[in-house]
Amino acid sequence: MNIWEKLSKIDRRIIYLLLALVVIIPIVFKIPSTVAVSGPARMAFDAVDNLPPGTPIIFSTDFDPASMPELRPMMTAMLRHAFKKRLKVIMMGHWPTGIPLSTLILEEAAKEFEVEYGVDYVNIGYRPGAGAVMIQMGREIRNVFNVDIEGTPLDSLPMMKTIHNYSDIGLVACYEAGAMGDIWVQYAWGRFGVKIVMATTAVVTPECYPYLGAHQIEGLIGGMAGAAAYEKLVEHPDKAMIRMSSQAWAHILIIVFIIIGNIGYFMMRRMEKTKTKGA
């Protein structure tokens, strides 16, 4: 077997070993990646950054544990941004299975910034109905969410006193693993003109670009790369940036192997051609 043939028939176990290494090393040594910040992610960052301190911002949890690796870092990064900017955070969700997660993420970030429940942030949980909930919220949030996740009436929470409907809200940030983002755009933007930024799993991202093109949403954070970009923008490298180095190296490794395989294949084919000519 000559070298070219070897290159075109590398044992799969060598590929597996190298792949495992490029994924493990950044995680063990916590190596953050250099990240290019895409336009849509910066637009999302600017939308949050331009809100004056004290403006309420809604976080909508429309995902479940399966999408946590991608969406959790995004939510953490944007919560950090919001608390740093002293925005008033309202956490809610349209996927019941996501609520325990977002509660965890919210409490972690709140601890980090020592903000107070009821004054700087509230967690109002889930109500069934999706689009119907969004429309009701446009009239009066208390029509659907009369109590928070612990059962405390919204009126007894200091920060909610001045918040009644979308006109009191600066921005809705929705975290999407499915089609709930479409409904946010359709109802909250379409009927009430609410400003929306979307954070989506990689699978959903391409389908949200048209909204960006039509200026229906203010920004878009897509997949792990978007999460890493946001971490970079809030200057707080974390899980997404580390995981992006694993991602980047794994992608490069696969591309390198594809190139090696093709070089081997072409050289072999050339040699075969010259051989047949000689004979």
């Binding site: 176990r13 597996y16 792949l19 495992a20 994924v23 493990i24 995680i27 063990v28 336009g39 690796p69 991608e70 990689a202 699978v203 670009y209 048209p210 960006l212 093109g213 039509a214 997949g223 792990m224 995981r243 694993s246 991602q247 794994a250 992608h251 696969i254």
Partner: protein, 220 residues
């Protein structure tokens, strides 16, 4: 304690499955047989909790007698244990196939054909669409609509079975297969990230939930 034991079991099984990448070996065989056994048993309770309880037992206890019919069909399935009357099991199988076929007709039209045609009928030019900068606004360029129309038609023609692929049909079908191949390449490339994420998830589990606490328990 329950959690620590659980993490050790989970970590052990994780490593055993990964050993398959080197070659088939006793560890993988062990994990595989454990997996099939455990999940088959689990499926029994899953079926009971989510299917039979709510669909059969609860309605019966509320005197909704109609569910007796599928109950009898269900029992008919069990005739397969007795070769002489096993043919009775064809009845419930026929009902199931009928349900699937009926659904395929209506859902295929409602869920696929109609919405796909609707979103392919697009304006290619005119006042409603403006030409933007190709690079900054790729996704709202009107030529996109033309690409979608051409690509969809060509792909449909690739599946045209009853004419030989020559002449105009052959040409269109060739464009169709190019679209199909490029699309497959793109979605393959697009999926790599999601798959690597899964591996990152498992490795994070092994490191953060298993190795790091283990290391700490040695140092303290």
């Amino acid at each position: 304690m329950g959690h620590i034991l659980g993490v050790w079991i989970a970590a052990g099984l994780t490593l055993m499955i990964f050993s398959f990448l080197y070659k088939d070996n006793p560890f993988y065989k062990f994990a595989e047989h454990v997996y099939v056994g455990v999940s088959a048993a689990y499926a029994c309770f899953y079926t009971w909790d989510y299917f039979l309880m709510p669909k059969l037992i609860n309605p019966l206890s509320q005197h909704h007698w109609l569910v007796i019919i599928p109950g009898i069909f269900g029992l008919m399935m069990l005739t397969r244990w007795f070769p002489r009357i096993a043919w009775v099991s064809r009845w419930p199988i026929s009902v199931s196939v009928g349900v699937g076929s009926g659904l395929a007709v209506v859902q295929g039209m409602q869920g696929l054909v109609i919405p796909q045609i609707k979103s392919t009928i697009l304006p290619v030019m005119g006042s409603s669409v403006t030409f933007n900068n190709l690079i900054t606004n790729l996704w709202s360029h009107p030529i996109n609509n033309l690409i979608i129309i051409v690509g969809t038609i060509a792909t449909i023609i690739y599946f045209y079975f009853s004419k030989e692929h020559k002449g105009i049909i052959g040409g269109t079908a060739k464009v169709g297969i190019i679209f199909i191949m490029v699309a497959f390449g793109a979605s393959f490339g697009y999926t790599v990230m999601a798959r690597i994420s899964l591996l990152i998830g498992r490795i994070s589990f092994l490191i953060n939930d298993w190795l790091v606490p283990l290391f700490h328990s040695f140092t303290h």
